[in-house]
């Protein structure tokens, strides 16, 4: 049986709330592609940061379905309209997640530390001037500051705190966010990563990246020798080569520097 996701006609909306878009669809596709693994993983607490219309969290609950009865879901958004819209979307699909109107996971960070088995995030990732970040209303849905990384970097710090030892994080990034650098940064914290879905359009290229704790890396990071923070060469290669294979941005870098002068 093919699994269900949220139906667009049942997704509620509001002028101040981000509507499901290519990035939302790519994230849901990534979760669908990994659905078997998720079911085997049997997460206990699942969470979405920045739930917007509720399309992603609702789809996640539907696709895990009865088999994920052992799971509970929490979603946050900084925009109170988004929280209401998510509530309506969930009601229309007869699913329930606990909703909290907050900045990332503020208020949850202490007690929820180390308890989240599955975290999904489609963050505001568009490069903008820094002062556009976190403004009221719809702008906060996409405004990501320098390289689109302002909110992403804050979310990653929170994710490191919230994720359980077996926690998985799925996050949307744009090429401009420098995803390979994000992966290297996460590797220093003991996380391995893989691109689950990659989509390019004329203007942008989206990656849905999955992060999980790799205990070999953690052992490595404990050797206090500063440089041994770098992961075993073979593993780093495998992550970075994934990005290299997505040759468009490497080659476009090369091209532009060649044609540059």
């Amino acid at each position: 049986m093919s699994s269900r996701i949220a139906q667009i006609r049942l997704v509620s909306s509001h002028p101040e709330v981000y509507e499901p878009c290519d990035d939302s669809f790519a994230l849901v596709d990534a979760l669908l592609a990994d659905r078997k693994n998720l079911l085997e993983h049997k997460p206990t607490l699942c969470m979405e940061v920045g739930c917007g219309s509720g399309y992603v969290i609702t789809s996640l609950m539907l696709m895990l379905g009865e088999e994920a009865n052992g799971a509970q879901f929490i979603a946050t958004d900084i925009n109170h309209h988004a929280i209401r819209v998510t509530q309506e979307t969930m009601e229309a699909h007869r699913v329930h997640a606990e909703l909290i109107n907050t900045d990332i996971a503020s208020g949850l960070e202490n007690r929820l530390a180390g308890l989240v088995d599955l975290l999904v995030v489609n963050p505001p990732y568009v490069p903008t001037p820094e002062d556009e970040v976190g403004r009221e209303g719809i702008a906060s849905a996409w405004a990501g500051g320098e390289n689109g990384r302002s909110v992403i970097d804050r979310i990653l710090l929170v994710a490191l705190k919230l994720l359980s030892k077996r926690g998985w994080l799925y996050m949307v990034t744009l090429t401009a966010n420098n995803p390979s650098q994000i992966c290297r940064q996460m590797r220093k914290k003991g996380y391995d990563s893989r691109i689950i879905v990659q989509r390019s359009t004329e203007e942008e290229s989206l990656h849905i990246i999955k992060f999980w704790k790799d205990f070999d890396i953690e052992v490595d990071a404990k050797d206090v020798v500063p440089n041994s923070n770098a992961a075993p060469a073979g593993v780093v290669d495998s992550v970075l080569s994934q990005f290299q294979r997505l040759s468009f941005w490497r080659s476009s870098d090369v091209n532009s520097s060649r044609s540059g002068k």
Partner: protein, 124 residues
């Protein structure tokens, strides 16, 4: 807002060191039945702060829980306990009311079941 969520929330105001548990002010409680799942209850039990949970359920008008946290083995055998734990944790919702910071008295409103944990500029 379920009591599970209440058990996971603390006051996030800058400088507050003892922000847990938030005191509940009840205006309206609703009950929504959900299917019981023993695996979930067993997995989450060790993460629950029992005193906060016990006090919160009392305020919500539910007095069937034991004051002392039971031994985890009870979750294997005592179906009656599992049912009560499930009910208090997942079926009681604070629909309207507030969560009060135990240190500063600042109120975080709960409207239509949703806690608002957003801080004012001078609280971050």
């Amino acid at each position: 807002m379920r009591m599970l969520t209440h058990n996971m929330l603390s006051s996030n105001i800058k400088g507050v060191t003892n922000g847990f548990p938030l005191r509940i002010e009840v205006e309206k409680v609703v009950e929504k039945q959900v299917e019981i799942n023993h695996d979930f209850l067993r997995n989450i039990f060790p993460k629950i702060d029992w005193k906060a949970f016990f006090d919160a359920s009392r305020v919500m008008g539910y007095a069937e829980l034991p004051e002392e946290a039971p031994e985890p083995s009870v979750l294997e055998s005592d179906l009656e306990f599992l049912r009560k734990f499930h009910h208090a944790l997942l079926e009681l919702h604070l629909e309207e009311g507030a969560l009060v910071c135990p240190e500063t008295g600042r109120k975080f409103p709960v409207n239509k079941g949703i806690p608002n944990m957003l801080l004012h500029e001078d609280e971050v």
